[in-house]
């Protein structure tokens, strides 16, 4: 008897593909098209084909901003993973009950919106109500000042935002890891303090790298944290793009900057993929 082909899954897959095409590819194409239009201060744009918008990117201002975006996203991603991985290892060795507790904590952290987290940190770092005042009261800081806006405050915001996501991505594979690999390393003479560096980091290298890349792309697109906790000079490309497109009503410039960021991001990802593949063999 011939098996009837299963249309259900294909239909759902096709539907998902269609939705992706309509809501992702079409706007993307539209964005690329608009990036060649002529900006019009009175309206949105004039249909045209000019390189002027791209030319603006190569002025020093946008150049600097894009490098700063890359820098803060990379630094943020590395910090998030460097903090989340040890925490996940620690949690995965707790009893079932406490593991569940931490997972729920991380999940509820993820439920908070970016705006609420930003405001919370704004208050915590403010001169009048937050940590500076506490430190001043304890006598640890003679001249307490507000800690935000600053690059450090923005970084804390970014790390806080990505922390629960990275932890929850890493948790399943970390909690299911074969612990006898660590024990084997100890029986072969590895001091317990070095097992993390000798065995855990190398065995999780690939997944740590991929989650760092995911975080990098995610943090590139973060909008609220830089505006709330960062100084204007810490602002990322995302903020500048929305500033141009919405604030100055210069949609073509915003689109051109977005296209450049997209290309840079893809280049970084391809470079990372090539590097990791080169190292695996």
């Amino acid at each position: 008897m011939m098996a009837t082909p299963a249309y259900g899954p294909r239909l759902i897959g096709g539907l998902a593909f269609g939705v992706m095409a309509v809501f992702f590819v079409v706007p993307l194409i539209f964005m690329i098209v608009v990036s060649f239009y002529q900006p019009d201060p009175m309206g949105f744009y004039k249909v045209d084909f000019v390189w002027e918008n791209y030319a603006k990117f190569f002025s020093s201002f946008y150049y600097t901003v894009s490098f700063r975006s890359l820098y803060s996203s990379v630094l943020g991603a590395v910090l998030v993973v460097a903090l989340a991985f040890p925490l996940v290892l620690f949690v995965s060795d707790l009893s079932r009950k406490w593991q569940l507790f931490w997972i729920i904590m991380l999940l509820s952290l993820m439920c908070l919106s970016e705006v609420i987290i930003g405001f919370a940190w704004l208050i915590l770092m403010s001169e009048s109500a937050g940590m500076p005042r506490l430190l001043g009261w304890l006598g640890l800081w003679n001249d307490p000042r507000s800690l935000s806006p600053s690059f450090g405050a923005m970084m804390i915001g970014l790390v806080f935002l990505g922390f629960s996501i990275v932890s929850l991505i890493l948790y399943p594979s970390v909690s299911r890891r074969d612990r006898s690999i660590e024990e084997a390393a100890v029986t072969l003479g590895t001091p317990p303090a070095l097992v993390f560096f000798k065995v855990l980091l190398p065995t999780f290298r690939v997944s740590l790298l991929s989650v760092t890349l995911t975080m990098f792309v995610y943090l590139l697109g973060v909008f609220v944290m830089p505006t709330m906790l960062g100084r204007p000079k810490d602002w990322t490309m995302t903020v500048i793009i929305s500033d141009k497109a919405l604030g100055d009503a210069n949609l073509p410039l915003g689109a051109a900057l977005a296209v450049v960021m997209l290309i840079v991001t893809m280049l970084v990802l391809v470079l990372a993929a090539v590097l990791t593949r080169g190292r695996r063999t």
Partner: protein
């Protein structure tokens, strides 16, 4: 090499007593099998010898050294884990040479040693291979070579062959036995498979409920089990209850069937032929006895027929009640 002496060892996990009062002396160069079902404490005992768990009470001596005061990474033991626990990020040669690199042994010397070890386990020329590209048996060999790389004083194995198919398991057992004999290393091997224990061990330690039931050579264990548990665990033993006297154990091959009437009588419930061997189940009273013989060695019967049941008194022995 050195002898391993364990005295009055105790270990509890919470309210669960995993080991209660274990004492055993393993001679220098001896091959010991810890045999028992799951939860009997055999793996816990092995992990205590390795130093992967800390004990509650008792002593573990290696030669004259008190092992319980030495942390795991400073005990000179080699261990093969049930999951093998090969380092996935290292190739075959680097897995085997891991301990040597950690001890900063010169690269040329350690490379020569890795080659020697891989030759020993039959993996010559595979040093550069990724461990992910190996077959099950090859991975076993890497794990064994890695555990023996630092010339350990004690070699520990935790059910290393349980994931292999029967033919490969037999082959690996022979190889382990050969390597162990060549090196003369004191070995403790954990298994739940009594056939494996019989094939490998100089002495089998049967464990049950955190205690040692019996420690004896495979022959002695099979012919004279000390307790009912051992008798049942070590093979199909017929334990026959007798009113007012201790029960006796009779092995299947010691039971003889005849057409004679009088004496003990039974009925053949089932019989099957396994190659040269014929196995029968005979109902005697409310008990089912297992009997086996070389096919054709005795009279043949149909299922359901009544038979006389007898056994050689020399092959039957009393168990503690």
């Amino acid at each position: 090499m050195a002898a391993l002496t364990i005295t009055n060892l105790r270990k509890s996990f919470g309210s669960f007593e995993a080991l209660s009062d274990i004492s055993i002396a393993v001679e220098d160069g001896e091959f010991i099998c810890l045999l028992g079902g799951s939860g009997c404490g055999k793996t816990t005992l092995l992990r205590l010898i390795a130093g992967l768990e800390s004990h509650d009470e008792g002593d573990i001596l290696l030669g004259s050294e008190d092992l319980t005061k030495v942390p795991c990474h400073k005990r000179n033991i080699g261990m093969v884990f049930q999951s093998l626990a090969l380092f996935p990020h290292l190739n075959v040669g680097d897995n085997v040479g891991y301990g040597m690199r950690l001890r900063r042994i010169a690269a040329r010397q350690s490379a020569a040693e890795v080659t020697r070890l891989l030759d020993m386990v039959g993996l010559s020329g595979l040093a550069k291979r990724s461990v992910a590209a190996l077959s099950g048996g090859q991975r076993q060999r890497v794990a064994i070579a890695r555990a023996l790389a630092l010339q350990p004083q004690v070699f520990l194995m935790d059910e290393p062959f349980s994931a292999l198919d029967a033919a490969l398991r037999d082959q690996m057992q022979e190889e382990v036995k050969r390597i162990q004999r060549d090196l003369g290393v004191t070995t403790v091997f954990v298994t739940h498979d009594q056939r494996e224990a019989m094939a490998l061990a100089d002495r089998i330690v049967v464990m049950n409920g955190g205690k040692i039931e019996q420690a004896a050579s495979p022959d002695a264990l099979y012919s004279r089990p000390a307790t009912r548990f051992v008798a049942e665990f070590i093979g199909i033993n017929n334990i026959i209850e007798r009113a007012g006297r201790p029960p006796i154990a009779v092995r299947p091959e010691a039971i003889m069937l005849s057409t004679h009437e009088g004496g003990l009588e039974g009925q053949i419930m089932r019989q099957r032929r396994l190659g040269a061997l014929l196995e029968r189940e005979i109902k005697v009273g409310d008990q089912t006895l297992h009997q086996s013989e070389i096919a054709g060695a005795g009279p043949s019967f149909d299922i359901g027929s009544a038979v006389g049941v007898a056994w050689d008194e020399g092959n039957a022995w009393e168990l503690p009640a």
